[in-house]
Amino acid sequence: MLGYIVRRLVSAALVVVLTSMFLFLLFFKGPSDPARPLCDLNGKCTPEKLAILTEDLGLNDSVVHQYGIWAKGLVSDREIKFGATFTCEAPCLGISYRTRGEVRKELVEKLPATLSIAVGGATIYLVTGVLLGTIAARKRGTNMDRGLVAVSVFISAIPYYVVALLLWIFFSLQWKWFEDTSYHPLTEDPLAWAWALVLPWFAIGLTSSTAYARYSRGQMIEALGEDFVRTATAKGVSERAVVIRHALRAAIVPIITIFGLDFAFLLSGTVFTEQIFQIDGIGRWAIQSLRSPVDFPVVAATVLFAAIIVVVANLIVDILYSVIDPRVRLS
């Protein structure tokens, strides 16, 4: 088991490294000159200014050299010349071209907001989705089941950003129930934190729970038809225990697989949510960094962050597998 986790960690690290290398290659060897829009930013761009910028950005050095410098910064302090000279503490992700702030500090600052949105939203859609799916599966073929499926199809037909926008327009703008949706740190004021996040959570939870409800329903119907569920019923186990202890336990494995993939996606892409509800999180930050001039250190940081989240989520799913399924654990 331990060997397995170590093997997975090694391959996860490899994925992250390859992603960052690819990113560097794209930036430095891309079709446009990254120094040019930066040069245009403050006043007129002179050839001298461009030359200095090109030198500062390291565009005169090889990509490999630049990557080496960047990678070394992850473990030791680094001096960065960009107009002025900045000291960037390890682990250093560089200096934002736009704000001249340390990228790592900005990332750490914006992480809680994004994490709060994603974890809260995911919890809501997982719990309600599985719950509704289980109920629908148990009541399979009844009007309740049909109603649940119909409603879920209807909601999934509405694009997510429309749901989010509608929620924001009505609940925040018009009725002013949740007027302030900007991020309040959990440690400072838990109530304000939760209150501000209700709308984003609801938006994510509502739209995604429908998909989970239908998926869970399918998995539960399959599980309820399994021989071992019949065995449990034949033992005299109560229906509730049969459904939860026997059927749901088996159905949860594929649901977790999907959930793991979804969660990574959600966390690395809370762009819409943060944009609509004007939350200062990583998604919004990533979008801003992509506007011309491209804020490469921020782009690199956000992409790296996304890559790490994806591989970690996958790793967690695999470990969960082995916790749930002894056949995986003991083989």
Binding site: M1, G3, Y4, V6, R7, S331
Partner: protein, 430 residues
Amino acid sequence: MSEVTHGLPDGAAEIELGDGLIDELADEAELLDADSSVLKPHAPTELDPSRPAILEADGLRMYFPVKSSGILRRTVAHVQAVDGVSFQVPAGGSLGLVGESGCGKSTTGRLITRLEKPTSGAIRFEGEDLAKLSKREMKPVRREVQMIFQDPYSSLNPRHTVGTIVGTPLQVHDVVPKKQVLSRVQELLEVVGLNPEHYNRYPNEFSGGQRQRIGIARALALQPKLLVADEPVSALDVSIQAQVINLLQDIQREFDVAFLFIAHDLAVVRHFCPEIAVMYLGKIVEIGDRESIYSAPRHPYTQALLSAVPDVRQASTGGRRERIRLEGDVPSPIDPPSGCRFRTRCPIAQEICAKHEPPLLQIGRRHKVACHFPGRLGQAPTEPLTARLLGVDAHGNPDAGASPSAEILEQRPGYADTWFDLDNKTFARA
């Protein structure tokens, strides 16, 4: 009345031998569905020793690696699924492979059809060693060796029509012009007792027995010389099993196909195969003609296996008959017992059994057994018969006085003209 009893309509059409063309089509689809009534009742499946071997497995081995769970996934052991199996299948004849789950009979079938590449050993098909052929070189041979699978539900693609399923091999191997594929498919459906009009239906529109017929039609499409049938009837209802067995026997007779018939049902194998090999934990423990295996088994495992088969006729005698109870489970093929692999469950095992693997000794004209104490049920010899041949004493310790007999110990497929007569303890000659 009597024709009806035998499931034959009056004037049943015949099949021309060889090219498989059907003279006349029987009119009633009902009767076609009922049984393979276009075929004549067959002569019994008897052994024809004069025919040459079409297939010869020689020392076939299949070891599957077992990886460690550490950081570096080293191969720490091997599953010895098939370990040194040798046999012959005569042209147009059939050899049955029996044994319990995990004995390696299915793996052997997959090796013969080269769905797996053997670790070592030879598979001589019409003299050519298939074990060494590459995938590309195997393609022409695949026409000659076809497989029938156990599960008629999962072995047919549900999205393809029966016509496509049966016709695909014809197109892949380019054996008939495109225009004639359909008529050939219909011929094949007719041969296996299905309505030829149903070529455009999907597998789910057929019952289990009919699906197995589709699988057989597909296997027959290329007019193979050898069919490997892996549990072809065990997923079917009993009344349907007999239909399919009869069909396979008819096909064998009409098209002169050889069968490697793999099954766990001893009665079915006995009915179908004039020669049978009994496998245990990757090895053949006894091989011989039907009479030897079923009426005069000399290996304690074969005897136990036969005595375990439930028998309908007990109802008339009342109560349960005595039988040899095998205790425990089959050991792991990763770490099989030393010496004789059956010794851990064998009622007559002695010291020598743990020390030396018994050779597959020929004890009759067409009968070989791998046991140190081969004998009739309840009359096993007290002294190991193989000790002298192995050059050891009765306890399996080296014996300077004895001289190992290389000739007898050489494990070759097929049978020799001399053998060791158990009753007289001497060599006999045909």
